[in-house]
Structures are given as structure tokens and as C-alpha cells.
Symmetry: C2
Subunit: 337 residues, 2 copies
């Protein structure tokens, strides 16, 4: 399998390394090599039909800030369409305004008959149906486990292992930064601003934290889950959204007196499509601490199935991209390709 990596930040570098680490698995399970035949970031570009060395790519990025020569303005799309490869691994940053450049790259790949594996929330939270229809029309796969909850395998769990269930509803914590802040407020009795500052100092929250604490990130992920698992046709804008800025230490102390904790919960059911702070009984799976992500699915036979995992990180997100790559390899293998 020949892959091209789009975007070469933390996630792109992570999947390059992991592809290097797993060659034995690819050959043992599927008698395949996975070759990185191209990579690009916002300004540089490299290709080699014989395959690029992942370690060299990552070292070059660290040393020079790029993966190769300066790329020509507007030529990337053409490259995706015309170059000979099988799967685009799309890891450009989430853009919640117009989903670019990810949307253009993904569409170009799908329409050129290439599979796409992505960690990018923007295109999926804004233009899910266009993308999934393009994949269907071109008989290729579009997979996006890495776009929701990092290493937490909620999408493949729902669509594959739980394919026999009727999934009625979903609840989850989809943003580790908010969970960390709420948990510190409870454990240490900190006011919101102080817990946020602590999270920023630890690198858990960004300098501009609004994407996390106003629930934008959670809402993007909830929109993707609504589309992927519940077959809805929604965008990020359809999610009713309240963040955690106005949660006071008093509210958290009051909840604790009732043996409850406050969590930023995303919920999908036939009445709600919402991200908002909610009270959760201690001991309930959703009362989880730390920066973990968690999703609980309510189904007709199994009852509740809950999955928890690390919501972010270089290796963790690469893990989800890898699982999607393996699913494509496995599918090709079963079909005797």
C-alpha cells in the first residue's frame, strides 16, 4: 500500500513513525508493505515512489521545519489527483470556519479513487455527507476514527463490533481539557480561572482556550458521531452548546455534597443534540477524572457500553489512524486484492 501524508505536524509525524514501527505487522498479517511515497505540510513537499524513510522525514522536519522543497502554490490538489498512491492520510489542522485545506485534499483523493484516513475534524463536522457520498460514489473508503477522542475507538466500535445493536443514544466527555479543569476545581476547590491557568501552564489548555472551554471542540466531535453512528446529517452548527466558563467553585461544591460531579457532557438522542455541563453521580462511568475521553452508548440488547481512552497525543492519535489503515488493508486482503 502506497500512502501520502497530508500535514506533517504532531499527528502526521506520529503516523509516519508508527508506519515505520509496524512493517512486520503489515507483512505478517497482510503480506503487504506500507510505503510512504509522499508527504507535505503547509509549505513544503516531498515524494519518492520507492518510499520515504519515516525517521529521515521526521528528522528533516525537526531540522528544517519542512519535509522537503518548497511546494508550488495550488499544485497540491493536482498532485493528489495525479500521483500514483492508494491512501491519503490527512492530518492537517482542524479549521472550523471552512474546513480547508483538509476538505479540498480529502475530496481530491476520494474523487481520484483513493482511500482517505483522517484525524481532521473540520471537514467531517462541516461537510460530512458530501464526503461520505464521494467515498461511496468512488467505491473507496473514508475512515476517521482519529477525528474523535484520539485513541478511544468509539467509531469503529459502534459501526463494527456493535453492528447488531440498535443504538438509541450516546453520552460522552469528548474534551480532556475541560475534564481536567472541572476535576481540579473539585479536588482542590479551585476557582475556574485558576484551574484554567494551571491547565495552560501544564500545556493541557491552549493560550486561547475558547476552542476547548466553550465546547467548540466537543461539539465538532459530537456532530461527527451523530453523522457516523446515528446516520444524521448535521454540522457543528446544529449542536446546542454551552461551555464551562461560568461554572463556579460553589456549584461544584454543591454537587459534591450530593455525591455528584460536574462534567461537560455531549449527548445525542432523538430529542437532544447538545454539549453542556451536567451533574453526574460519583461512581458513574461518566464521573471519570483526568484528561480522558469517554463515550457511553445506549443500545437495545447490550444496555450501556462505555469506552474510555486518551483523547489526544501524538502516539494516541497515530494509533487511531493505524487502526483505520489496518481496517483498509484487512478489507483489501479479504477481497483478495
Amino acid at each position: 500500500m502506497k500512502v501520502v501524508i497530508a500535514g506533517f505536524g504532531t499527528v502526521g509525524q506520529g503516523i509516519a513513525e508508527v508506519i515505520g514501527m509496524r512493517q512486520e505487522l503489515f507483512s505478517k498479517s497482510f503480506r503487504q508493505k506500507v510505503r510512504i511515497v509522499g508527504a507535505f505540510d503547509s509549505s513544503t513537499f516531498v515524494k519518492d515512489a520507492k518510499g520515504l524513510d519515516p525517521g529521515e522525514l521526521v528528522a528533516r522536519k525537526a531540522a528544517t521545519g519542512g519535509v522537503g522543497a518548497k511546494s508550488q502554490e495550488g499544485k497540491i490538489r493536482e498532485f493528489i489527483e495525479e500521483y500514483d498512491f492508494d491512501t491519503l492520510i490527512e492530518t492537517t489542522p482542524t479549521n472550523i470556519l471552512d474546513a480547508e485545506p483538509g476538505y479540498t485534499y480529502i475530496m481530491a483523493a476520494l474523487n481520484a479513487g483513493k482511500n482517505v484516513v483522517t484525524s481532521n475534524k473540520g471537514p467531517l463536522a462541516l461537510k460530512f455527507r458530501e464526503l461520505s457520498r464521494a467515498a461511496e460514489r468512488n467505491k473507496v473508503q473514508l475512515r476517521y476514527e482519529a477525528s474523535v477522542g484520539g485513541a478511544m475507538p468509539v467509531i469503529n466500535l459502534s459501526r463494527e463490533l456493535l453492528r447488531g445493536e440498535h443504538i438509541y443514544s450516546l453520552r460522552g466527555i469528548l474534551n480532556g481539557t475541560c475534564n481536567f479543569i472541572l476535576n481540579r476545581m473539585k479536588d482542590e476547590g479551585l476557582p475556574f480561572d485558576q484551574a484554567l491557568r494551571e491547565a495552560q501552564e501544564m500545556g493541557i489548555a491552549e493560550r486561547d482556550p475558547s476552542y476547548d472551554i466553550d465546547g467548540v471542540d466537543s461539539a465538532c466531535k459530537l456532530a461527527i458521531l451523530a453523522n457516523a453512528i446515528f446516520n444524521m446529517d448535521v454540522t457543528y452548527h446544529d449542536i446546542l452548546r454551552t461551555g464551562i466558563r461560568s461554572i463556579t467553585e460553589d456549584a461544584i461544591a454543591l454537587a459534591a455534597e450530593q455525591k455528584k460531579v460536574v462534567r461537560l457532557i455531549g449527548e445525542i438522542n432523538d430529542k437532544r443534540l447538545e454539549v453542556s455541563p451536567r451533574m453526574v453521580p460519583m461512581g458513574h462511568p461518566l464521573a471519570i477524572g483526568g484528561t480522558l475521553n469517554i463515550v457511553q452508548l445506549i443500545t437495545d440488547l447490550a444496555g450501556e457500553i462505555t469506552v474510555v481512552g486518551r483523547g489526544a497525543g501524538r502516539r494516541e492519535t497515530a494509533s487511531a489512524l493505524l487502526s483505520d489503515l489496518l481496517a483498509i488493508l484487512s478489507d483489501d486482503h479479504a477481497k483478495g486484492r
Copy 2:
């Protein structure tokens, strides 16, 4: 697909009903009908190559205590070997002494070229390798998601969705009865005996509770996970085992002062293969309450992945059997059978 149901207690009836409920799914996803062409319990037997009605089967069992005519002593094995069907759904009760009658039924089916889907811990906790080798040799599938943790999809998650991970270790709560008792002791300050009595009154614990509270049930499940996920070759007897009988309310109160709870934890790693009571920090996923089952996998890329589900119940166990049936149907479908 023609299936025979072995054992027609709670779980056997549950999967019969679920097969009835999911005919539309079978035909939509795989252009298949799943027909129940035979069923038997410890003393009665019925077959019909055209297919038995699940509702009628369950009603007959309720009305007469059996599924059909008295079965002839020793003829069941012959029936499994000679009758024309594709998959045995084996749901006879767990027997931890000699794994019978499940072991004989499963072996007969595998050696006759039939797939097996089972919820029965005994054969897997005592003779895992013999069974998995027989499946390999006969090029059929042996699947057993339902044998560990009811609806919690830990085996298929580990073996399928996480096939790209190196799984280093596993920790989990595999017995809902113990978890209920430990949780009631903490929440209400009850002594062990009283919490156990309450669990018995609620039907959560058996009249003879030793199978649960001495950790036998957890150890069986841990042995199955060690074999299935870590490719070990162990039996239930290889698990170091301590139950919860000697946990005092004082120990639980002391743990609570340190913001910890006591849980009966099963653990697999390169040094340990053990079921024992352990302290877990509140807010940690393993501090879960109620009768839920939980497993946490520690892997090289994803870090920790945790899955939680209902560990027992008619529909819940049927849900796991169904997921295995669907995996077989899907595999057959991909291979164009």
C-alpha cells in the same frame, strides 16, 4: 446460515429471541437468513431443517420445561456430528470441574467442520488450546465474546479493533456481584455479610455465592482473556486467586479516607496472573460502581483503553453471541460464500 442452539436456559432462550428479532439485519447486511434448525437442553431435543420459530421454542420451554421430545442418552454428540448445519451456539452452563457437557459439544462441532459461538466459560478456562487448535485444524471459527463480561465487547475489541497495538497488560473487574457488594459496603457502611445478604435478596448473588465471592468466576474469565488476548496457554488453575470474603467494613472505610475504593481486580501482565482485592483511587475508571464489568488494556500506542458493559443478563449475553454470529456472517460474506 443454519444454527443449532445447545443449552436452552436463560442465554439459549435469549439468543433464540434475538435471532428472531434480527432477521431484517441478516438479510439486509448479508442476504442471509439465520435459521434455528435444532435446539436441545439437558433432557429434551428438537430439530427441523426448515427452521424453528424462536417464539414457539421459548414458549414451549416455559410451558413444558423442555424444547421437544426427550433426548436419547448419548445421542447428542452424534447429532452434532451428523446433522446438516453451519454453526453451533453453545450456551450450556459453566462447569469448572471437567468443562462438560460443553467441551464435548464444542469439540464435536469443530471436528465436524462447524463454527462454534459460545457463552460457556468452562471449556475455555480449562481447555482453551485444544479447542482453538481444533478450530484451526478444521478451518472453522470458534468465537466466545459472550464468555467474558456479558455484553462488554472486550475480546473482539482487543483482537480486531486493537490489532495494531502491542497490548502489554490488562486489568479489570470481571464479576458484577463482587462489585455490587464492595460498593454497598462503602456507600452504606455495611459489613460484608449484610451486603452479601442484600445481593442475594436482590437476585444479584446466588444462594451458594462462593463461585462469585471467592473469585472463581473472575479467575475463569481472566484465564480466557490471558489465552485469547495474550496468546498464553493457561487454565483457570493457573490464576492466583483471593476473593472478597475477608474484606472488612473498616478496610473499606480506611480506603475511603485515602479517597480510594476496594475492588476485586483481575490482572494480567508479564509478572502477574491474579485475581485479588485492590485499592483504586476514586475517579479512576476501575472505581466503577454497580454490577458493571470493566476491562482496561495497556498498550504501546493508545496507552490505556477501557471498556465497560453489563456483565450478565439474558439480552446482554445474547448481544455478545449475536456479535460473534455477525462476525462469522461478515467473514463468509467477504469471502463470497
